[in-house]
Symmetry: C2
């Protein structure tokens, strides 16, 4: 690591994720306009890479780590909509500081035989842990937000002083 936030910053600088998605759908990707969760449309690795602003290398790496398992036509990878959803989940997890390994165990739990009581208990426990982490992050974010507010107001005040020529 840790290029995650850098990549993300690049995202933000351009446009909001939702906006990117929508404009792409409207302008280039007419197939997807028809139905939101089209189960027949497929994606090439480059398409997904562009959509989520990551490299094909990353996507292949996620597969190597057992987080994705696309089908193939010949030697080329073909991604279905469920793969795209998974990728989206991976990236969301990353933004929140989850390691790929953690995301994988969550996926595995979700996938594996859900009839086992042991599995279900483990799932619940992990769920609780994650919830605690997320709550802490929420608290952190709120504190940072108010601090940013303070900094901003002080900055703007000082700038106003400067413009009034009190110092310069």
């Amino acid at each position: 690591m840790n290029y995650a936030h850098i990549k993300y910053t690049r995202n933000v600088k351009d446009m909001s994720p939702r906006l990117i998605l929508d404009s792409k759908k409207m302008l280039y990707d007419k197939v997807h306009v028809m139905s939101q969760s089209d189960n027949e449309t497929t994606f090439a690795i480059g398409e997904l890479a562009r959509e989520f602003d990551i490299t094909p290398r990353s996507i292949r790496f996620y597969e190597e780590q057992g987080l994705l398992s696309p089908t193939r036509t010949g030697q080329n990878r073909v991604y279905l909509n469920k793969d795209r959803v998974r990728l989206k989940l991976i990236l969301r997890g990353k933004r929140l500081g989850f390691s790929l390994a953690e995301v994988k165990t969550l996926f595995d739990m979700y996938d594996s035989n859900p009839n086992s009581a042991v599995q279900l208990e483990a799932m619940l426990e992990m769920s609780e842990q994650k919830r605690a982490v997320l709550n802490q992050q929420l608290e952190d974010i709120q504190m940072l937000m108010t601090e940013l507010d303070d900094v901003e107001t002080r900055c703007r005040e000082e700038l106003a002083e400067l413009k009034r020529g009190k110092i310069a």
Copy 2:
């Protein structure tokens, strides 16, 4: 990386940070009971390490990266309350996925000559960027939370089924 969340998980498993702090203050650390922001009390590296559940190595590393600058008595590091606050900020930043380098530039901006208009503008810009990132994280957290809700309810329902002997 990425041991951050692991360490943090260990925190959560034990007790809430505030509770740890309070009990320590009440039981062992009588000096600190008197005033919250005591500007005279000092801390050894081990104390801070224990309080924040990190290793002394990490604290020295943060210093090496220019994030902390404790005084000395002889060759031993002595941390004042402002150093402790800085450390707390560092860790909060880490929990939110900031790199140490990012935290440092924030610190540097905060510290450096605040009369420069350029500095202030830069500060505001960075502040805006961070705010965007935090907003995205908030959205991510909310989505994850509701998904966790779903998973939990499904888990509990299936467990109830199991206990009623419908399957087993």
